[in-house]
Point group: C2
Chain length 344, copies 2
């Protein structure tokens, strides 16, 4: 019986994870759940999975939950401390991976791209890797002109052709920043320099990513675009779960195509490469500026092409520092948020 | 330094293997070469790789070679005994794999499809395999009607769109019998029942084969169609060689497509499944009848659609036996050759 704590259990990853666990109750036990403010869904999850500990965003929410769940013997905590791990690898990949190594912790990715790379590296030798090829659907604006991009609406940007996700990540997918962040994450997760990480636009989202080896062999992992695939793999590794999810049928798929991303129309990807190349605290600055810019777009304060503009200007006015502690990353993050807000 | 004996050094696999070895002379030593009657090429190979032992088809050829290579200190043998391992796994897979297991021998496949399956299984667990998907280019007649197939010429059949190979295997590719034989080989090499082996037509020949797991994840191995890829992998495993072969560039490939094979127009594949399902000596019968039928086609004695007809009639008049010794396989082989010749 594996014991699990799920931070962010009411988010899309959390919900999908619990969907898998529900099918294999004999293998997994939920000991802790944390969520923000979606108390209604959290209550349903608590009733179903009976965790020992639950954490919510703040004291009033914790109090309300305690009253409503009175008959159940559950410890209810609150606060954002210790649960806010948004884009941790982007902000402080060097530190996280160092800590993981020192503590003998293995990090299993559940992003479909990183899971694909993990699965395509397994059994092969990292020294033989020529490059990693991350695939990207290209998002809803793949074929838009520069002019069209400047005028896209929030609703259009939230309408992703393949994946149903939260608002922030959906906008990141539309701008290709999501892929940029994944490049940075892959760099740290797999300890591969960014020069060896390429991105291919693959609108069908069937090949989730690939690894090319020095002998020309390319190993790829494919599947239907369903987060429960990589989640179940991370849960069960080194085994696999008979998830009975809909199976990939290549015969039903018209074709698989691959293309280079257009960095002119989608500068976010170029900015992410620049951030990881400059290194140190710059990826934290990229990430923070992006969060502010996306928020501004979603609040109708800037246009879609304003997002990379804000990020680039923020990066241009920042002097990169070495990253040795989480504090270094958090300081860069705060600075960039302020700067980006001013620019908005 | 790995020591190698290459049986069939003047065939296409032998030539490609030596091409790889020539690039990594510090890693491999050729201790023995065997060939049939292509003495000219064998002489060049001997001069270059200086094996200790060489074997040719018969005594006159051995004598001629001895005279021409007089200054070199090389042992020259002759005879077909011990070198004729054509379609061994098809004829007697059960026995070969049992012997290999008992003797602690690992068999590394160098067929591109089986190498792809090997690479896609590595690091994953065989018990989690849902199915193997072997890909097939479909050959030169992929889009021919039944009527056109009945009238194809030898020259058309020898004109394979992707792979340049020997005559026999090129005809087998055109009839899809090659894929049928590969299904049988995969069944034994990977100890996977034939019900779990599917074939997809993939005209681009980029995805060399795939493994689908029980959680819906599909791992695939891709590359340019070049035998030197899988050969170098088998030579170097678990390492890989920096072969500097042309790299797969998915951006240059229009699209990847997958389709079901048409068993009506290409009955050879169905016959191969039938042979492995009936088991015992039937695959040996299939293989022998196919060799005779292909020879008859190449000698203009039967048409292209006559090939599967001959095989099916041979199989229909055979009563399958258990296979316990190589002798069982050889007897079935002889019987089927005779029968197929009569049918021709």
């Amino acid at each position: 019986m594996k014991k699990l704590a799920i931070l962010g259990s009411t988010g899309s990853i959390g919900v999908n994870t619990l969907d898998i666990i529900e099918r294999f109750r004999d293998k997994y036990e939920i000991v802790a759940l944390s969520a923000g403010s979606n108390i209604q869904l959290l209550k349903e999850q608590i009733t179903k999975f009976k965790p020992k500990v639950v954490s919510v965003l703040n004291k009033p929410l914790a109090k309300r939950l305690k009253e409503e769940l009175a008959p159940l013997d559950i410890e209810i905590l609150y606060g954002i401390e210790g649960t806010n791990n948004k884009e941790t690898l982007v902000m402080a990949g060097k530190i996280v991976m160092k800590e993981a190594k020192e503590n003998g912790v293995t990090i299993f990715p559940i992003d479909s791209e990183h899971s694909a790379i993990f699965q395509s590296l397994l059994g092969h030798q990292k020294k033989d890797v020529k490059r990693i090829i991350l695939t990207a659907s290209g998002g809803p604006f793949l074929n838009c002109s520069q002019e069209e991009l400047a005028n896209v609406t929030i609703q259009e940007a939230l309408n992703h052709p393949i994946w149903e996700m939260g608002k922030k990540i959906t906008i990141d997918s539309a701008s290709l920043m999501n892929k940029g962040l994944e490049v940075i994450e892959a760099r740290w997760l797999f300890d591969i320099p960014h020069e060896k990480i390429d991105v291919h636009i693959h609108p069908q989202s069937i090949v989730h990513s690939m690894v090319e080896y020095i002998d020309g062999s390319v190993v790829a992992q494919m599947g239907l675009p369903d987060m429960r695939g990589p989640i179940s793999y991370a849960l069960a590794y080194p085994e696999r779960l008979p998830t009975e999810l809909p199976s990939l049928n290549l015969l039903e798929i018209d074709k698989l195509t691959f293309d280079l991303p257009d960095e002119k129309r989608f500068p976010a990807l170029r900015l992410a490469y620049r951030a990881v190349e400059e290194g140190g605290t710059m990826p934290a600055v990229l990430n923070a500026a992006n969060e502010i810019a996306v928020e501004a777009f979603l609040n109708n304060k800037i246009g879609f092409t304003g997002i990379p503009n804000i990020i680039e200007q923020t990066m241009n006015s920042y002097k990169v520092k070495e990253i040795n502690t989480i504090q270094d990353a958090l300081e860069a993050d705060s600075w960039a948020r302020m700067k980006a807000k001013v620019l908005v």
